[in-house]
Symmetry: C3
Subunit: 315 residues, 3 copies
């Protein structure tokens, strides 16, 4: 594997999830693969889970890791071509990516969307330019429109915890006070559409995701109907795709409680975290037996490790 930026970069997602669970059972079996190999993690935006879990995954594989929080360094990158750099940007992404490629065997990159210009965000301009110029295999640590390491960890969690061969999985929108990217729901949707699950998306009117990520999913505005018989409920806020980055008013109550889960198949509740309590998810769910959110975050390690292992094998 030379690139891990979406579900389309994976030949067999079920095999990859199974590989992740094997690594969970035996984390240190492949340390020879990473010996004298360096992973550089480049963050243009903040990170907690992704940074720690990917670093841990790389160390489990025997790799060295260097972390660069560019967002904290005031090292403003120029992304446009053909400009005279006489403003505030200090380095062009062409050189920055090229140089980081000199010091890395594999690079991880996080680059959030601006949520202002949909075409720019959905072109994945920043992520793709970085891939183009760094010259090394790249793992997405969340880009403008996708968060594939999270989605793989989610698939790993569902594979690990499912109680029937083809579980019902529901992605449901949840409230928030800030406009959030569509990367997590886009990505979860495109992975679930390829997974061996019965997949439903529930969201208020106005929060339709781009159709390219939801082919094959059942889509509804009725949260309660969607939850019926669900095995997994994936909770996440996102802002609108159209009008882009906006938060159309929602009058119904989309905050789940234990009561909302009555008609599920004793559903496990998932969230990528961080989660705002009692805004996105209620205390009673997060502190009760339905929640698997911390367990799910733990699986981020094995998802990252499976991807890095495949990349190391391709070097």
């Amino acid at each position: 594997m030379k690139l891990f930026s979406s579900v389309n970069d994976v030949t067999d997602i079920n095999a990859l999830a199974v590989e992740a669970l094997k690594l969970k059972a035996d984390p240190y079996a492949f340390q020879h693969l990473g010996k004298n190999k360096t992973l550089v993690l480049v963050f243009l935006n903040p990170s907690l889970r992704t940074r720690l879990s990917t670093q841990k995954a790389a160390m489990n594989l025997g790799m060295d890791v260097m972390v660069l929080n560019i967002d904290k360094e005031g090292w403003a990158l120029e992304l446009r071509d053909n400009v005279v750099m006489n403003g505030t940007t200090v380095e062009h992404i062409r050189e920055a990516a090229g140089v980081m490629g000199q010091y890395a065997d594999i690079i991880g990159l996080r680059s959030f969307p601006g949520l202002k210009d949909r075409d720019e965000d959905y072109s994945e301009m920043v992520f793709n330019k970085f891939v183009q110029f760094c010259g090394k295999p790249v793992v997405s640590l969340e880009s403008a429109t996708r968060h594939p390491l999270q989605s793989l960890a989610d698939l790993v969690t569902i594979t690990e915890l499912k109680t029937r061969p083809r579980p019902k999985v529901v992605l449901t929108w949840a409230p928030h006070v800030k406009a959030l990217p569509q990367a997590v729901p886009n990505s979860f949707a495109e992975w679930m559409c390829k997974a061996d699950v019965d997949f439903t998306i529930a969201h208020p009117k106005g929060y339709e995701l781009s159709g390219e990520f939801t082919q094959g999913a059942t889509i509804t505005h009725n949260q309660q109907a969607a939850l019926a018989d669900a095995d997994f409920v994936y909770v996440k806020n996102w802002s609108a795709y159209e009008p882009y980055g906006q938060m159309p008013a929602v009058t119904e109550n989309w905050l789940l409680t234990n009561d909302s889960l009555k008609n599920t198949n004793n559903a496990k509740v998932m969230h990528c975290l961080p989660v705002r309590r009692n805004l996105e998810l209620s205390d009673e769910i997060l502190d009760g037996p339905h929640s698997v959110v911390v367990h799910e975050a733990g699986n981020r390690v094995w998802a990252a490790q499976a991807v890095l292992k495949q990349m190391l094998e391709s070097l």
Copy 2:
């Protein structure tokens, strides 16, 4: 050892100090203990000595280390329960601690007091919640009311440098321009009260420490009388316990000079650092033969290594 947050977590402080000195003599003898074990250091407040010395200690033991400067990341944690998180906090300590526990074998946490609400600070709410929810052994890297790794390093230094079996140790208040926590003096006092030393505390009126830390100590407002025959003089500023976090006016001169040390037993002068020169301690002491402050800072490594070794042995 599953928790290192105060002197009460240690069965035999002298044995622990002796263990630290053995590690100083032979730093790399226990690297098998830390193999494939990860220490996550979480800082809610700035750190220099604690970060570097604890990281070094862990590496000496063969551990991997990941550092998270949450204070720099703008990752505001919610600490209160039962609140709707619709403000500026992005993640609850329940999830944050739980997730970090997924990526760590041992966690170090630094959490300073607010110095506004004494009950809250002295309840160690933040530190204790983190311990409760992370599910892994925790080392305090300084909490609201204690700095036990510093105190152990201080005991190690005294054990190493003492010239008689039961040395006289004096903790003396020093001036400052900012209101500082009581964590270092509280902690030093509770360790010295259990150590095989003759322990005196000297401070101006109004700077009494909480009685729970000073049981058995001689307490005086007369710095010169306290210093008589002292083997070790531990210099530190702190703000008042009552009125909490305030700086009652002090009219006498509490800044030590070489002259102040005349009646000591050629005392060694200690400070946890950072120290403000000519405010807390004079140039002539810091640059003269009495000072052992840099040596003391060096012993932070062996203190941390002794604690981490015991934790690794308990995993």
Copy 3:
């Protein structure tokens, strides 16, 4: 080697460059040297290439690395002696350097000039005080007046890519919108003056470098004349030495294009990076066959590794 702060700390710069190229061919041959040795990298100013390349070099040698971005930590150091520290500085460089020396076998330090007081900058006060008080071997990661790891990487690049025994090397000034230090051109000049090259410096009137760095170089204000038959063109902006840190107006066009390189010996164009496109260097050069800037940045690893190897051998 106990100190690497300028060309004067190196006995034989050609041998050192050859050693770097040997390490490039066989990067992991000396991992026993760095086992259980710690490099502490201390940054008083931002860094990307220097941090990553030096960290990578140390890891290649089997060292552990700890990075301290003091500029980001709000840990303001006091540099002056004999002052009462009742202002904003929290720790004196005497203690800070001394303590870091306790946790390191080798220390790397970056400290930029203020560009206000030439005597202070050119005395290398900060760098020299740190060296004095840390008590360990120190590698400059760029100081007020020099950037020797960059210069060594430049010599390595020239040694590697030259097509005749004694190539012509031209250092040419380039435009910028900010006043930049003289460290890179000073340092490049003093290394080239000792290297086996024909060395010319071209800059506008008013941008003379201090004579101590340029002994033996040909100096001209005519860029085109300088470029004739050049094998390597090193492009860099700097501010004036006199009036110090100023940017005297330049009316001619100093921005190189492919056309400017016509009379060179198919010159390779170098730059230490970061480079501002179309201000310092044109797109057509950076994206064309003349540019070796990313390759040059890659050589930073082998330069650092050669220096660290010599230091490890001297421990």
